[in-house]
């Protein structure tokens, strides 16, 4: 028993170590101007304003594309699951396969399709679109399971009332699935924020303030990578960015748990 409990604690050490060293090394660098000015001297000095703006822009594009696409796909899957089971199996297989593809491959895909073929260049738009396709399978999976539960619960009742399937989908399943949609959106958002590899060759490295979504922009995670790998003496600001990123993700995560609990309670008694 002693061996297994020491293995248990050993397993927790890396996580604890990582989070303490990130916060301890990162947070002391935090100043007000971190949020007010853009990085200078390749990121060794200055703040993070342009980085934060780029990150927000990339996230916005990602969610604007992926949320409607994911919820429509999940609703379609609910339909297929009822009337064309074979087709829904095929869809779910392709989602499983898609979610197993490494993010760096999505980066290559985005580089060819958006940067080169669609001629969007290394831009925030390319990065956002790439991430949208990357988080799609996760979001569809999350949504589809809760849509299916709702469908099972109300299918008989609505059919007995002579309600068409389209009305059922749009006016009953979708509104009742809103909590799940929020949950899936937040989940996708955390995955998109944590992603680096897919952005390296799609949204580029530029740390200047983006003027439009067609400008190159550097996300927080790419900033950490650049400072740590390519800028001697950039460690301190890398840790600052990491601490901020970790802080945001922890906040979102706690919010998920909190809202997840309350929204689940609301589900069904809307």
């Amino acid at each position: 028993m002693r061996i297994s409990s020491s293995i248990l604690y050993l397993g927790l050490i890396p996580g604890l170590w990582l989070i303490t060293c990130t916060l301890i090394l990162g947070l002391p660098q935090l100043r007000l101007e971190t949020f007010l000015i853009s990085p200078s001297d390749a990121g060794r000095a200055g703040g993070l304003l342009s980085i934060i703006i780029s990150t927000l822009l990339i996230l916005t594009i990602t969610l604007v594309i992926s949320v409607p696409l994911a919820s429509a796909t999940a609703l379609a899957m609910t339909y297929f699951r009822r009337y064309f089971l074979k087709l829904s199996r095929l869809l779910s297989l392709s989602l499983d396969v898609l979610s197993a593809i490494p993010s760096v491959i999505f980066g290559l895909f985005g580089n060819v399709l958006f940067v080169e073929k669609l001629n969007l260049g290394h831009s925030i738009l390319s990065g956002g679109l790439t991430l949208a396709f990357m988080i799609l399978p996760t979001m569809v999976r999350t949504l589809e399971s809760s849509y299916h539960e709702i469908e099972k619960g109300y299918a008989k009742t609505t059919e007995a009332l002579g309600i068409n399937f389209s009305t059922f989908i749009y006016q009953i399943v979708f509104p009742l699935g809103l909590p799940a949609l929020i949950f899936a959106t937040i989940l996708g958002m955390t995955r998109a924020m944590a992603e680096t590899a897919a952005l390296l060759f799609t949204s580029g490295y530029s740390d200047r303030m983006p003027e439009s979504v067609l400008d190159s922009g550097r996300s927080m995670s790419v900033h950490i990578y650049e400072l740590a790998m390519n800028v001697p003496g950039g460690d301190k600001n890398a840790y600052l960015t990491a601490a901020l990123l970790v802080f945001i993700l922890l906040t979102i995560n706690s919010a998920i748990t909190y809202f997840g609990y309350h929204l689940n309670k609301r589900l069904g008694i809307l």
Binding site: I7, L18, A194, A228, L249
Partner: protein, 283 residues
């Protein structure tokens, strides 16, 4: 089955589903379209260890072996930890106790943590630690440790689900017979759910093979056969991440070939773990 108006109203959903399905095909098309000569695949597996893409020498074997070895080593490190954690969470920790909820939340948070932060931590903490023992510190050992720290929370969650799917009577009967935790874990639970555990491990292996950022920051990135724990090595994902920025023509094509091999490798693993999903569907 339906009237035409129904099909019309539902058509946006079908369109979205079609787009989602086509992403997989699109990925293949896009990556293959950048490879100049697919038939040159044998030139990538020559075992001479030379990777000078600008001069037409692209032997992928050292990077392929490094990728696989790092993932396997990380798996070897993390499997015992994850099994113990998963077992603890289900059978030993008090249900809904503060301690068990805290550990569970902690593991959940870390399973989705940014890999670049793991890389930063490895670069500034693990590598110097190994370097104190033997310089330079970058290499297989550092990569495997960082990757293990990264995938073990993920693996714990998978194992937990595997253990939970075992029938509860198993535990009840063992308890009534006075079987110890150790015996129950190694002689009853693991043999019972071995198939699922292997599938979960394969999923984690796939994730390890595809991992880019954490490893590129601690592997040292010199093209070498992974003959030593502390020799700097480079993985396929690392090569793509580092060289895509400036690669042109043949070099770019070689990187896409590397990406294609990586894609096929991870799809292979996804298909091998597939029957688990179908079981799940049938339930």
């Amino acid at each position: 089955m339906f009237r035409l108006s129904e099909w019309f109203k539902l058509s946006p959903l079908f369109l979205a589903a079609a787009i989602t399905v086509s992403v997989l095909t699109l990925i293949f098309i896009m990556i293959l379209s950048e490879i100049q000569d697919l038939a040159s695949l044998p030139a990538f597996i020559t075992f001479n260890g030379l990777w000078f893409p600008t001069e037409g020498l692209f032997d992928l074997t050292p990077m392929l072996l490094s990728t696989l070895l790092i993932a396997v080593c990380a798996l070897v490190f993390s499997i015992p930890i994850s099994i113990v954690q998963a077992y603890w969470l289900i059978f030993i920790a008090k249900k809904n106790g503060v301690w068990s909820i805290l550990v569970k939340r902690f593991i959940e948070v870390f399973s989705g943590f940014p890999s670049v932060v793991f890389g930063l931590w490895g670069l500034t903490e693990i590598v110097p630690l190994i370097a104190k023992w033997t310089s330079p510190g970058f290499g297989l050992l550092a990569s495997a440790v960082v990757l293990a720290a990264m995938i073990s929370p993920y693996l714990t969650l998978l194992f937990e689900a595997n253990f939970l799917s075992a029938p509860t009577q198993l535990k009840l009967v063992s308890n009534s017979l006075g079987i110890t935790h150790q015996k129950f874990l190694f002689q009853i639970l693991i043999p019972y759910s071995i198939k699922r555990l292997v599938q979960s491990s394969a999923l984690a292996l796939g994730r390890g093979i595809g991992e880019t950022m954490a490893i590129v920051m601690v592997a040292g990135n010199v093209v070498n056969f992974p003959t030593d724990f502390i020799k700097p090595i480079r993985t396929i994902t690392g090569a793509i991440a580092l060289e895509m920025g400036y690669a042109v023509d043949g070099h770019r094509s070689a990187l896409f070939m590397a990406g294609f091999i990586l894609l096929v490798l991870s799809l292979l693993i996804a298909f091998l773990t597939q029957d688990k999903m179908e079981q799940h569907d049938a339930n």
